[in-house]
């Protein structure tokens, strides 16, 4: 069965969700991943949005986290403070999906600007809730377009802290929980070394070579642990296409 990179990405990320996880979603791929996971692997997981929408029915795909579709049929319609207090709640295992313009080898993210902060070449939207979930969630999964200019040695601006400078540097900042679990790109899945907290290539998608990954990554990367990803199953694709995004707004 044929499938697109977007579908592979949504499913790769969805597979990382465990049943019972409380999933912080944005728009786009993250909502696909979260809702696919809920329907396929993790029926007891709960999807919520930084805007305060807790477990909406999502009969249609939201185009923004403030979309009315994050409110409809929800368990709670609350607000930002309630939502971030869920992200950081020690009783919950919270998984957050983020995207970024730049990422470094420790999974730190830039969603603020390219160039000097005070007079940027390109200005992006800013942190929104990204810094907060990177600081507070149990675990972060990041979606990236796999390009050399995005996988960089040094971020132009560190909007959101991943493993900071590696080893226990994150914890020393005062961030006692969380960190980045995985990076899902259009080529591969990357994870982080348990000790050094440096990124490594964990999976390459079927049809992608390790070299493809290396030449699109702006820093040296450990590829010794790479395996090939399982391709999407028919069931996964069917649910994704027919139930999760039938309007084809993201796929």
């Amino acid at each position: 069965m044929k499938y697109t990179a977007n579908e592979m990405m949504a499913l790769s990320a969805g597979r990382m969700i465990k049943d019972g996880d409380i999933v912080f979603a944005g728009t786009g791929l993250s909502i696909l991943a979260a809702t696919a996971a809920k329907r396929i692997y993790a029926p007891k997981s709960v999807v919520f949005f930084e805007t305060g929408g807790i477990d909406p029915t999502l009969d249609e795909m939201p185009m923004a986290v403030a979309d009315l579709r994050t409110m409809s049929g929800a368990a709670l319609n609350s607000g930002l403070i309630e939502s971030f207090s869920i992200v950081g709640h020690k009783k919950l295992h919270t998984i957050a999906f983020l995207g970024a313009a730049q990422i470094d080898r420790y999974g730190n993210l830039n969603t603020t600007c390219i160039g000097d902060y005070h007079r940027p070449e390109v200005r992006f939207s800013g942190s929104g809730g990204a810094n907060d979930v990177a600081s507070l969630a149990s675990s972060v999964i990041t979606f990236m377009k796999h390009e050399k200019k995005r996988f960089v040695e040094k971020l132009h601006y560190m909007t959101s802290v991943g493993w900071y400078k590696g080893y226990d540097s994150r914890s020393k900042l005062g961030l006692k929980r969380g960190g980045v679990y995985g990076v899902v790109t259009n080529l591969c899945v990357m994870k982080f070394d348990e000790i050094t907290k440096e990124i490594y290539l964990a999976e390459v998608y079927p049809g992608v070579s390790i070299e493809d990954v290396v030449k699109n990554t702006g820093f040296e990367i450990d590829t010794s642990r790479a395996v090939e990803s399982s391709p999407p199953t028919e069931k996964e694709l069917r649910i994704l296409r027919e139930e999760v995004d039938p309007q084809k707004l993201v796929l």
Binding site: M63, A64, D67, G79, L80, C113, F124, S160
Partner: protein, 325 residues
Amino acid sequence: MGKTSDISDKVMTVEEAVHRFIKDGIQLSIGGFTVTRNPMAIVYEIIRQKIKNLHVVCHSQGQALDVLIGAGCVKRLEIAYGGNGRYAPTCIRFRRAAQNGEIELEDYSNYQMSLRFLAGALGIPFMATKSGLGSDILNIEGFPKEIRGTGKVAKEKFVVMQNPFNDGEDNVVLVPALNPDVALIHAQYVGEDGTVRIKGLTFADVEQAKSADVVIVTCEEIVPTSYIRAEPNLNSLPNFFVDAIIKVPYGAHPTACYGFYDYDPKYLNMYRKMASDDNLFREYLEEWVFSISSHNQYLNKVGAERLFSIKANPVVGYAVGLDRK
């Protein structure tokens, strides 16, 4: 008892509200979030009245902020996010102003901004959070040093301190309270007693309103007191926090209002296109703001057919099957 306040001195037009409360240089807090419940009717009028040098404070703002910036009303901005969801992942005029150094800009995160409004609402000087530790949000200051502590600019962007209730190393970030001069809120309902009810997600609107000196509320409907008081658990603000009440149906267009109407994809796509070019953007402002004399005229220009196409299904709260591409 049951006697309720008289709100006749608070009910006014958008023209009056802006004239009375929105002055050059004030600190302005804008409610809503990206494409939802932006107080557009008031914002259009601020532009028409040529208010300048605004110091805007918000968490995630979209359309309202972008038009204000584009019209040159904003001098200073504290913000976590400037975007319109998938209709403009980064707001166009916001991006341009930041890149051209046309505004003084200070970045926070959504939680930090929300907590700053909460601190202001509670009358306390700061809130503690773990958000921001290690990041450039803490390390890089956007505002020039000389404006710190002047006007409504906090003396410090942040203070990092050791948690005094813990012997171990345990840093927390203190974020300073916000107490804006004016907050703009768009709600579904205001009662004839002045009670405000926001339906669907409230974002940080309640905190924003309670932290401000003056609160201007536009609403879809003014409803009988008996209706709004039949379910006090649904209400968001008592009347004594509200200074101006204006009934403006579709007052958040082209952004959405739960239970009333969806965002307007055609308008947002048109806006993105026109905002991307300086000349086109001038045309946009002329056509959709300056040459418009009332919100009813604005709605006529949008057209009944379009307004019906985004009308919310009353059960699910949004426009089912709306073409949103």
